[in-house]
Amino acid sequence: MRARFLSILAYVGAGITLLVAVCVPFVLINGFSNVVGSLGLHLNPEYTGGTVARTIQRDGYRIEVYQPVRPRMLQRTEPFVQIAFEPADALPAHVSEDIDLNGDGRPDVRVSFAVLADANAKMHGDVTALDGRYVSLVNVADESFSRMVVRADNRVVVRVPVR
C-alpha cells in the first residue's frame, strides 16, 4: 500500500517536473528573474563607483562626484573616489577641471584629459592632487579599478585613489 502510494506520488512529481519544464520559457525565467531583481541587491561599488554624493552642473554637461569607496574584508582594491563626466559627447575637446571631492568648498584634485573623437579609442588623463588625501596620477588609462580615466558608454569615468 505504501509502495503504491509512493509510486503515485512519484508520477505526480514527474508530471509537475514536466509542467515546470513547459513553463520555463514562458513564465518561470521572467518570474525568477523578477524575484532576483526585487531582492534589493546592488552591484559591488568597485564596478559602479558607489553612490553619487553630488552633481556639479556645467555648460552642456555635468560632473557627478561619488562617495569614496573603501575596500571590504580582504578586498584588494585601494580606496578611491569616482568622478563621472557626462554626457561624454557634450564634453569639450579638452577638459581640465578643479573638483571639490569632499564638499568642503575647496578643490581637491585637478582632472585633465582629452576627449577623443573615436569613442572606442583608449583614453589617457592626468589627476593632480591638490589635497594630500588624494593620489596624483600621470597619463593614466585603465591601470586598475581605483586608477583610471576611461570612457564607459557615454560617460568619462575618472577614479582617484584615496590615501
Binding site: 509502495a3 509512493l6 509510486s7 506520488l9 512519484a10 508520477y11 512529481g13 514527474a14 517536473t17 514536466l18 515546470v20 519544464a21 513547459v22 513553463c23 520555463v24 520559457p25 518561470l28 525565467i29 521572467n30 518570474g31 525568477f32 528573474s33 523578477n34 524575484v35 532576483v36 531583481g37 531582492l39 534589493g40 541587491l41 546592488h42 552591484l43 559591488n44 561599488p45 568597485e46 564596478y47 559602479t48 563607483g49 575596500p71 571590504r72 574584508m73 580582504l74 578586498q75 584588494r76 572606442n120 585603465d142 591601470e143 586598475s144 579599478f145 583610471m148 576611461v150 570612457r151 564607459a152 558608454d153 560617460r155 569615468v157
Partner: protein, 399 residues
C-alpha cells in the same frame, strides 16, 4: 571484477539498432518537434532569412536526435552529438558577438565599469555569501537586462534556477555549453589511458570539485571578487577574459590557457573522461546538490548486475564506484548522461523515478526524464546553436 583491455576499450554502443518501431518513435518525437517549433516561432514571424535558416536547421537537428533516442533506445550517443555541437559552436557565436561589439575577446575595465559583462552561470555559487550578508553582487554586469547587456545577472540566474528545477545535475549534460567541448575531445581517442590511475584515485579526484567550490565561495566572499572567474576558469580561453594590462592579468590569462589545454583538451584526450567536469568544476559540484531534489536518477538492478564495471569504466565523470554499484546507486555527481545505461549488456543499469520500484518500467522513467531534459536542451542549447549558425552563415562570401 578484473577489467580486461577489451572491456576498457568498449565504446558506448550496446543496443540493437531498432529498439522501437518507426511509427512509435515518430509519435513519441512529435511533442519535441512541436516544442522546438514553438521555441523558434518568433524567428519565423519576423527575423531575417539567415535566422530562419538557422532556426530550421536547429529544429531539424534536435528533432532528428530525439527521434533517434526513441528509435534506438540509446540516450548517450545522440545526446552527446547535440552537446558537443553546442559546446563547439557556442564560442563561435559568442566570440563573434564580442568581436563585433568591442573588437576583441578581452574585456577592458571600461566595459566592466559600464556593466556590460555578460553573466556566466559558473559564478553563481560565488555570489551567494556576499549577496546574503552584504546585499552586494560581486560581478561586473547589470542586475536587470539593459540595452547594452541583455544577459543580465537576474535573467541568467532566473534561467539557471528554472532549468535546474527540471534537470538537477543533468544541467551538466544537457545545458552546460562548456561541458560539450571536453566531451568532444573525450570522444576522439579510441583507447583510454590513465585508466588505472583514474580508477585508483577516483574517490580523491571526485572530492576536488567540492574543495574548489568551498575555496571559491569563501575566497570570493573574503576578496569581494569572483575568484573563479578571475583566476581559475578554463573557459575564459574560448569566451572572454580581463584585458591583459599588467603582470597580474598576464598571469591570469596564462592560468586560463594552461587549465583549458590541460583539463579540457589534453586530459580528456588521454582518459576519455570529462576531466574538468569531474575533477575540477566547482559549479558542477554545486549543481550536484540539486540531484537531491530531482526525481530522476540512474539505478542498478542488483539481480541482473554481474559487476563487470563496464559502466564505471565508461562513466565520463567518475560518478560510479564499485561500492556504489554494489548498493545499486550512482554517486551524487551523476549527471544522468545515460552512458552507463547504454553500455550495460545485462540491462542492469536503468533509468529510475524516485519512489517507484527499481527496474520496473525503466523506459517510462527515461521518457519522463527525457521530455523535460530535451525541452530544456532545445530551448537553451538550441538558441545557442541557432545563434552560432547565423554567425557562420554570415561568413559565407556574398552574405
Amino acid at each position: 571484477m578484473a577489467e580486461s583491455s577489451s572491456t576498457i576499450r568498449a565504446s558506448v554502443v550496446a543496443r540493437p539498432p531498432a529498439f522501437r518501431s518507426l511509427g512509435w518513435s515518430a509519435l513519441l518525437t512529435l511533442p519535441m518537434a512541436l516544442w522546438a517549433l514553438l521555441m523558434f516561432t518568433p524567428v519565423f514571424r519576423g527575423a531575417g532569412h539567415d535566422r530562419q535558416i538557422a532556426a530550421a536547421l536547429t529544429i531539424a537537428f534536435t528533432t532528428v536526435l530525439f527521434f533517434l533516442m526513441m528509435r534506438t533506445g540509446e540516450t548517450y550517443r545522440w545526446r552527446r552529438i547535440f552537446f558537443v555541437a553546442v559546446g563547439f559552436l557556442f564560442p563561435i557565436g559568442f566570440i563573434a558577438s564580442l568581436i563585433a561589439e568591442r573588437g576583441s575577446m578581452s574585456i577592458p575595465l571600461s566595459r566592466m565599469v559600464a556593466g556590460d559583462t555578460p553573466f556566466c552561470f559558473m559564478v553563481t555559487p560565488s555570489l551567494i555569501l556576499p549577496a546574503a550578508f552584504a546585499r552586494t553582487v560581486i560581478f561586473p554586469g547589470a542586475i536587470m537586462p539593459s540595452a547594452t547587456n541583455p544577459h543580465s545577472i537576474a535573467l541568467m540566474i532566473g534561467l539557471w534556477f528554472a532549468m535546474t528545477l527540471v534537470l538537477g545535475k543533468a544541467w551538466c549534460s544537457y545545458a552546460c555549453f562548456f561541458g560539450g567541448i571536453e566531451e568532444g575531445f573525450a570522444a576522439i581517442p579510441k583507447r583510454r589511458r590513465l585508466h588505472r590511475f583514474v580508477t585508483k584515485y577516483g574517490a580523491i579526484l571526485r572530492l576536488i570539485p567540492w574543495a574548489i567550490l568551498v575555496f571559491v565561495v569563501l575566497a570570493s566572499a573574503a576578496l569581494f571578487e569572483p575568484v573563479y572567474c578571475m583566476w581559475m576558469c578554463p573557459f575564459k580561453t574560448v569566451t572572454e577574459f580581463p584585458a591583459v594590462r599588467n603582470v597580474e592579468t598576464a598571469v591570469q590569462f596564462g592560468v586560463f590557457i594552461a587549465l583549458f589545454f590541460g583539463l579540457v583538451v589534453a586530459l580528456p584526450l588521454l582518459t576519455k573522461k570529462r576531466t574538468q567536469c569531474g575533477f575540477f568544476c566547482p559549479f558542477g559540484a554545486f549543481q550536484s546538490i540539486f540531484n537531491k531534489i530531482n526525481l530522476f536518477e540512474i539505478r542498478f538492478d542488483r539481480e541482473k548486475c554481474v559487476d563487470c564495471t563496464l559502466c564505471q569504466t565508461n562513466c565520463p565523470t567518475v560518478a560510479l564506484s564499485k561500492e556504489s554499484i554494489k548498493e545499486g546507486k550512482t554517486l551524487l555527481n551523476c549527471m544522468k548522461c545515460g552512458a552507463c545505461v547504454d553500455v550495460c549488456k545485462k540491462d542492469a543499469a536503468v533509468w529510475h523515478l524516485k519512489g517507484t520500484p527499481v527496474a520496473v518500467k525503466p523506459e517510462r522513467a527515461r521518457l519522463l526524464f527525457l521530455y523535460g531534459a530535451w525541452a530544456m536542451a532545445t530551448m537553451f542549447g538550441g538558441s545557442i546553436l541557432a545563434n552560432s549558425i547565423v554567425t557562420m552563415i554570415h561568413w559565407i562570401p556574398g552574405k
